[in-house]
């Protein structure tokens, strides 16, 4: 199992565990019908069972596979830009909650184009400004969506 799959399954396990825990407080059902807790509770249990099944299957495959066929690990260098973009996006969204959507979005776009796509800074700035202008014209001026 790749580290990213472990992260995915662990995240899903925590998610379903939290819903299972909260679902315990909900009415499960009555004589007439099922309550609001019926589906979340049962599906959370099934989800946890499926995650356990996938983990057990991966463990069994690892034990039975010869050492030469071990699953290759992931390159941290390849994953790092993704993590950096996610952190940048999170910072931009936080900044958006303080007021303007377009300003943090513009900064994010320039950084994406310059630092991650490898374009010269001036070109990144120009292209991002042009795209933002089109977005502003469509969403803000035409559709009256308050982006600023």
């Amino acid at each position: 199992m790749k580290p990213s799959e472990i992260v995915l399954l662990a995240g899903l396990a925590v998610f379903s565990g939290v819903l299972l825990w909260n679902g315990l407080d909900m009415p499960y059902g009555s004589a007439q019908s099922f309550g609001p807790g019926y589906i979340p509770l049962n599906i959370a249990v099934v989800t946890l069972v499926l995650i356990a099944l996938l983990a057990a299957r991966a463990l069994a495959a690892r034990r039975s596979a010869p050492p030469a066929q071990a699953i290759p690990g992931e390159s941290l260098g390849a994953v790092l830009p993704v993590v950096a973009v996610i952190v940048l996006m999170a910072a931009a969204i936080y900044a958006m909650s303080l007021g303007s959507v377009l300003a943090p979005l513009g900064v994010l776009m320039v950084l994406l184009s310059w630092r991650f796509a490898g374009h010269p800074p001036l070109k990144s700035l120009f292209v991002s400004a042009a795209i933002l202008a089109v977005i502003y014209a469509i969403f803000s001026l035409w559709l009256k969506i308050p982006l600023i």
Binding site: E5, S16, P36, S124, S128
Partner: protein, 502 residues
């Protein structure tokens, strides 16, 4: 039937004025642009145009609104194919097959083919609307909660076909989809489930989920893989965008099947178009001689669901016009418009205000024809726009996703949702977990849950309600028969293969 033709001719007589023709043409174009924007779908398009209809003649106003509605259905496929960001649920299947075609440099062809299929689907749906609306709607009223639940279950059963190679992974993602759909108010009891923040009281917006899962997930994945698109230089050679006769012939069967399924299932309230596109996709995959092509840009996998999607528009108008029941957000706003115009939606609408309704249907026929031509002509514009920004595609997609998610409720909460599901989409793609079962569960599970609980309440706790009613029993029999037939066919093919090899 002759009656319908006479009424339709009357409708055309009312609609065929320069003013109305120009209005319908622009309505279709505006709908296409709005539908192409992530986060905005038919409801937003119709709602945006509603104020413009004040003071218009009723027929013109309704033509404007239905033209926008039809246009958004055409537009929804553009971002699905070009940047893998579906704007609504029915466009997800389009992204599953259209985006791989775009990556192979066949984005123009995919858009052209989907425009033709959309036209055929829309046209078929309109024929049914014109000739059989009262008949179809008279059957629709016999469907109750048990039948709707079973139909949702039928839609959910396509998870098996969307599963790919690992059924356990598909089931896991379907379960996660069901859990995600349980957030927010429970419509049966009024209980608020998992509202960890006040924004979650209304649940998680489905559009924010697909924007993140497909749009942002793809950006993150391409960033890791250092994918560089090479779509060539901008070109206006129309032959690149109009599907050749061989492709049209290859897709004709799927388009016709999609049209029938889209019209019939599109009548269902709630998720008619979504169920129709997934069922059609599953059907095409099952009957295909090359099922391995599905997911990699299969012609039938693109054409069939696109036809279903557009056929469902007239389909969803059938219960609205004949019974006054809106089946989707878009038709709910249309219902409001009908009331605003002083019309009384319901069984008497066709009798009391038949002239306006038939003018609207004639307007839809015109809009469908205009949309085919305008969309084929717009394809080079969209494809060349993409080509000119292909080096900056990551930042363009991120910008559209952020603005699209923001537009849903004018706050940053949905952008956070899109980011979270973007991370999930990235991890799922990286680890080969299918997105189809997840998204299908998110859309259909809440409807299935509500119908299921309503059915049990209706039966006073007795499960036999599903077999006591003839239509629901018929659906169960059809489902079991399809399952058995599928298994038998699979075994038969398996047994033939070794024999053929020997």
């Amino acid at each position: 039937m002759l009656d319908a033709l006479t009424h339709l001719a009357g409708g055309f007589a009312e609609v065929l004025t320069v003013y109305n023709i120009v209005l319908i043409f622009f309505a279709g174009m505006i709908g296409t642009v709005v539908g192409a924007l992530p986060g905005l779908g038919p409801s937003a398009g119709i709602a945006l145009m509603l104020p413009l209809t004040f003071g218009m003649p009723h027929a013109s106003g309704l033509c404007l609104l239905t033209g926008v509605y039809m246009g958004t259905m055409y537009g929804g496929r553009i971002t699905s194919i070009l940047i893998n960001t579906p704007g609504d649920a029915p466009a997800i299947v389009t992204a599953m097959e259209g985006y791989p075609m775009m990556r192979r440099g066949q984005g123009g062809l995919a858009l052209g083919l989907s425009a033709v299929s959309s036209f055929v689907g829309g046209f078929f749906g309109l024929l049914v609307l014109i000739f059989f609306a009262p008949v179809v709607s008279s059957y629709a009223i016999y469907l109750g909660a048990p039948e709707y639940f079973l139909l949702m279950l039928l839609g959910l059963s396509t998870i098996i076909l969307l599963a790919g190679e690992d059924l356990v992974k598909a089931l896991l993602m379907a379960c996660v989809g069901v859990l995600v759909s349980t957030f927010g108010s429970d419509y049966i009891s009024g209980h608020i489930r998992f509202a960890f923040t006040p924004e979650l009281i209304e649940g998680i917006d489905f559009v924010a989920i697909i924007i993140g899962l497909y749009g942002l997930g793809e950006v993150f994945y391409n960033l890791e893989q250092r994918t560089r698109l090479d779509l060539g230089r901008p070109s206006f050679n129309l032959r690149e965008y109009i599907p050749p006769a061989s492709t049209l012939k290859e897709s004709s069967g799927a388009t016709l099947r999609g049209s029938v399924i889209g019209t019939v299932i599109g009548i269902l309230p709630g998720a008619g178009a979504t169920v129709a596109t997934f069922l059609e996709y599953a059907l095409e995959r099952r009957i295909s001689r090359k099922p391995e092509e599905f997911g990699n840009g299969a012609i039938a996998g693109l054409a069939g669901p696109e036809a279903s999607n557009n056929a469902s528009v007239p389909g969803s108008l059938i219960p609205l016009i004949t019974l006054g029941i809106p089946g989707s957000g878009g038709t709910a706003i249309m219902l409001g418009a009908l009331i605003m115009f002083g019309l009384q939606p319901g069984p008497l609408l066709m009798i009391k205000s038949g002239d306006v309704v038939w003018a609207m249907i004639a307007g839809l026929v015109l809009a469908n024809v205009f949309l085919l031509f305008s969309n084929v002509l717009l394809i080079p514009v969209f494809v060349n726009l993409l080509r000119s920004v292909q080096g900056h595609l990551a930042s363009v997609v991120v910008a559209l996703c952020v603005v699209g998610a923001f537009s849903l409720a004018y706050n940053s909460f949905n952008i956070w949702v899109a980011l979270v599901f973007g991370i999930l989409g990235y991890l799922m793609k990286k680890c080969d977990y299918p997105t189809g079962p997840f998204i299908l569960a998110v859309v259909l599970a809440p409807l299935a849950e509500n119908y299921f609980r309503q059915s049990i309440m209706l039966g006073q706790g007795d499960w036999s309600i599903f077999v006591d009613r003839p239509i629901s029993l018929g659906i169960i029999v059809a489902m079991v028969a399809t399952g058995i037939l599928g298994l038998v066919t699979k075994r038969f093919i398996k047994s033939r293969k070794p024999a053929a090899r020997a």
